[in-house]
């Protein structure tokens, strides 16, 4: 109960912060730094109970020891990182506050591209041969087409 109440408060606080941001129509890094959303601690994500399944899944999946949420879900170049965080922070908070998102939660194609780039980032040398002949137009076969379980285990 206590934890649950705590989460709700955090969520509301975050939502309120986001609200202020709309007010000023500006995403600032100040806002960003100011919320736990931007830390690399997986707990920051699971603060939101809606991320609970993914958190549980991640704990059981093969990458628990190798990668945290942000290693996979956020681009690792600085600009991209903070842009993505701001954009996600906004969208997720909005979703959480309004409760108007599609359930079950679905990764967006943009987010999936970020994830795939992160797979390659860590596994670059192993996959160099299969990525090197990638057709510039056709691109890569998504790693997650075959390895969709590495982050969160099987869906079922």
């Amino acid at each position: 109960m206590r934890r649950y109440a705590g989460i709700t408060t955090a969520g509301l606080a975050l939502a309120a912060l986001v609200g202020i941001c709309i007010g000023s129509a500006l995403y600032t890094f100040d806002f960003a730094e100011g919320t736990s959303y931007l830390s690399n601690d997986p707990k920051a994500c699971v603060n939101c109970h809606i991320m609970r399944d993914q958190y549980d899944g991640w704990q059981k999946a093969s990458h628990h020891a190798n990668a945290t949420c942000n290693d996979c879900h956020v681009p690792q170049d600085l600009v991209g990182k903070y842009y993505t965080k701001a954009e996600h922070g906004w969208r997720h908070s909005k979703g959480f506050t309004l409760q108007n998102f599609h359930e079950p939660i679905r990764i967006t194609p943009e987010s999936l591209a970020i994830v795939n780039n992160n797979c390659v980032r860590c596994h670059e040398s192993l996959t160099s041969e299969i990525t090197s002949h990638a057709d510039p137009v056709r691109g890569l076969v998504n790693c997650t087409q075959c390895h969709s379980r590495v982050g969160h285990g099987p869906r079922n």
């Binding site: 795939n116 780039n117 299969i130 990638a134 057709d135 691109g139 075959c146």
Partner: protein
């Protein structure tokens, strides 16, 4: 994505030991740059049997005695074997009694050899413009290819086969400059274009759906428009398809003008009035189906889920610090851990039993369907002996044709139903219905009763 590509392209050049060109047919040369792929490619000489497949070239006519009756009067009743690895495709074709005892055209070479260069050379010889050094995708390159293709199809097999010397090779699937996948078989390029023009839904081939929404003034171009994942199936669809030799020119043609399903191909053959042979016992004008793997895969849940031939038949294999595509194309059941387990988290044993359950159901219905077709053939044979004319028998012969086509479509498809389990069963159910209705109609004719109207589903 772009970042990764740039980084890794650097790597590639580092390993590039020799240059390969459109004129480099010998895989050994390519293998100098890509020894891992080459080594596994060579392993297609291996022979290992699975329950319904594998790579041991046993005589199907012995293991399945119904086939002799079904193919009576046709070359397939002489010699019909389980297919094996790519390494054998050229020699198996040259040695089959279907070739040594019957006359075959140069068309056969289309799928049993590396012929990209052979076609182009022949094309140039026969008056297509340009030189064979010109890019494959150039207007001239394509004109040469198609010219040579047309010319070779109508040659005699014995002469045509002298123009080639390797089984399918790197150059047939890869661009020598970039190593990108490509399709090079003219029969496939024609076929997929015809398919694009049809209205058969192809959710598993999104680039075709996209092309259809465009202005359609230019032909669909697989080498430009298909996604990488689609190419990982089209590369195989070049050859693993139903085909026939069209007209006097014996042009290798895929019957996809109405779509990929069994009854759509049938409609095409009926419309153009084609049959492979006249059945020796029944007098029916019948069809032989050939390895419609691409078509059957297209009806299955894997295709629909974006799973390509290469995912299962050429899974990635880790070699030391690097993973590469296993070029030892073979039964995935010999390689379950790589072929299936990345996507399906069950034990190897469990995965084989799932496949076995599917294949056993198919086999059971297939046996029933073959039996029904053989019974109908027997009944027709007897009716002829009893003095009925081909004219009288025509409606029933047509039912044999339809029943046999469906039975054979599943039988000739090499996965024993796995590529599309329910579709395979549906086809066999229809085959049984048609064959048995044929017998009924015949008995009614013989006993002077009015023949029944075949039901809608079995028209």
């Amino acid at each position: 994505q772009n970042i990764n590509q740039r980084k890794t392209e650097a790597k590639q050049t580092a390993f590039k030991l020799i240059d390969v060109f459109e004129t480099t047919v010998d895989p050994k040369q390519w293998g100098k740059n890509f020894p891992r792929q080459y080594d596994s490619y060579l392993r297609t000489v291996d022979t290992q049997r699975t329950r319904h497949g594998g790579s041991e070239a046993f005589q199907k006519l012995d293991t399945d005695p119904h086939l002799k009756a079904i193919f009576d009067g046709y070359a397939f009743a002489i010699d019909y074997r389980e297919e094996r690895g790519h390494a054998y495709m050229l020699s198996d074709q040259r040695e089959t009694e279907r070739v040594t005892k019957k006359v075959q055209p140069g068309a056969c070479v289309h799928c049993h050899a590396s012929n990209t260069l052979a076609y182009r050379k022949l094309g140039v010889e026969k008056g297509a413009g340009g030189t064979i050094e010109m890019p494959f995708a150039s207007k001239e390159g394509q004109a040469q290819l198609f010219k040579g293709f047309e010319e070779m199809c109508k040659m005699k097999f014995d002469e045509a086969t002298k123009l080639v010397e390797h089984p399918v090779a790197c150059i047939d699937c890869h661009d020598p400059d970039t190593m990108h996948l490509r399709v090079t078989k003219p029969g496939f390029i024609n076929g997929i274009r015809a398919l694009a023009k049809s209205s058969d839904p192809v959710p598993h081939l999104p680039s075709i759906e996209r092309w259809r929404k465009g202005d359609r003034s230019k032909d669909y171009e697989p080498n430009v428009e298909a996604t990488r994942q689609e190419m990982r199936s089209m590369a195989c669809g070049q050859c693993h398809v139903e085909y026939y030799f069209k007209g006097e020119g014996k042009l290798v043609t895929y019957p996809w003008m109405n779509g990929l399903k069994v009854e759509q191909a049938e409609k095409y053959y009926n419309d153009v009035g084609f049959s492979d042979w006249t059945h020796a016992r029944s007098g029916a004008k019948v069809l032989k189906a050939q390895h419609p793997e691409f078509e059957m895969w297209s009806q299955g849940i894997h295709a629909r889920s974006g799973v390509a031939c290469a995912d299962c038949h050429m899974p990635y294999i880790r070699e030391g610090a690097i993973k590469v595509s296993d070029h030892h194309t073979r039964s995935p059941l010999l390689n379950i851990s790589r072929a299936c387990q990345t996507c399906h988290s069950y034990s190897e044993e469990e995965i084989s039993s799932r496949v076995a359950a599917i294949q056993d159901r198919t086999k059971k219905l297939l046996d029933a369907s073959e039996q029904a077709v053989v019974d109908l053939i027997g009944a027709l044979e007897q009716a002829k002996k009893d003095g009925m004319t081909d004219e009288q028998l025509l409606p029933v012969q047509k039912m044999q044709r339809a029943a046999q086509w469906r039975c054979d479509f599943v039988n000739a498809e090499n996965s024993m139903g796995f590529h599309a389990p329910q579709e395979a069963a549906r086809i066999l159910g229809e085959s049984i219905d048609l064959a048995r209705q044929g017998q009924i109609e015949l008995l009614k004719m013989q006993s002077g009763k009015t023949p029944m109207k075949p039901t809608a589903s079995a028209k």
